[in-house]
Structure formats: structure tokens, C-alpha cells
Amino acid sequence: MSFALDLFSVVAVSGGALFYLAGTVGLLRFPDAYTRLHALTKADNVGMALVVIGLMPQVGGVLAGLKLVLVWLLVVFSSAAVSQLIARTARRRDART
């Protein structure tokens, strides 16, 4: 059981790190602001979610796990709001030029 949980953690955390890699590569390689924002929000939401899910069996305790979920919810909400705001800024800039 412990081995299965450890394996689950390794797989999920590795997947999350892969999404961070994809977010960085997308931010560096994509051509314009909107596609870069697309890559960034993938790293924000999926990468963070996979890391938190993978850490869930490792923290040892329901309260610590709930705290991880709280951090994840805060990141998801702020990322959603901020990506909307950044996209609106970029769109106003493009509309002017």
C-alpha cells in the first residue's frame, strides 16, 4: 500500500514537473501574447494540481492535505483572474496599434 502510494506520488509529481517544463517552453517559444498566456495557464493549473495531488499521500494527515488543497485553490482562482486581466491588457494594446 505504501509502495503504491509512493508510486502514485512519483508519477503525479513528475507529471506536474513536466507541465512546468511545458509552460516554460511555451512561454519562451510561442509567437504572441495569447498563446504564451495559454502555455502559462497550463503550467499554473495542471502543473500545480498534479504536484498537489502527488503530495497528498506524503504529508501525513488530513489537515495538512486540506492546507495543500487551500494553496491550490488560491493559485487556481488567482491564476484565472490574473490571466483574464493580462489578456485584457494585451487586447487593449493590440486594439490601439
Binding site: 514537473a17 503530495l55 495538512a64 488567482s78 490574473v82 491588457t89 490601439r96
Partner: protein, 105 residues
Amino acid sequence: MPGRWKSGDAMADFLLWMAGFVVLMVALGLVRVARGPNRAERMMAAQLLGTGATGALLLFGAATGEAAVVDVALTLALLSAFASIGFVKFAVRQDQPPEDGEEAG
């Protein structure tokens, strides 16, 4: 003693390596701050920095068993959200030419 190793040593080592990897990725993303053509791209790199540092702190906290690191991650997530929102308010105000202030809002 800097921290007790809550999980097995191999798992703690793996989580530490993953935390280092995420920090490396975020640092590479900061190249966009130097290259990015304008402020929106630079702010995206800062947003990635906030998210990646939060994830790396969570990984670090789980690897060392330090519960306080999760509080640091929580604070950093909150601060990075406010930093981005403050940027957008500032950018919108600064981008408006002084003569057409009537469409503000």
C-alpha cells in the same frame, strides 16, 4: 536539525530534485522578462515565477517535513496574485493617452 525526514529517504530526495527542477524551469522562464517585447509578457513570466515558486515550496515542505514551508507557499501565492492585479491596474492607467480619459472604467 533542519528538519525530520517524514517520508522515506528516497522519496524525500526525489521531491527535493523535483523542487529543484521546478525552480530551474521558472528561472528559465525569466528569460522572457529580458526578451519580452512589452509589459504583458514580462508580467506573464512573473506570474509563472509565483506559481512555480509556490509549487517548489510545497515540494520542499513535503520533502523536509517542515509544516511552516506550506505557510510560506500560501503567502507567496497570495502576494503574487496581488502583484499581478496591481500591475494590470497600473498598466491600464499608464497606457491610456491623456486626451481620451472618457472611456476609463
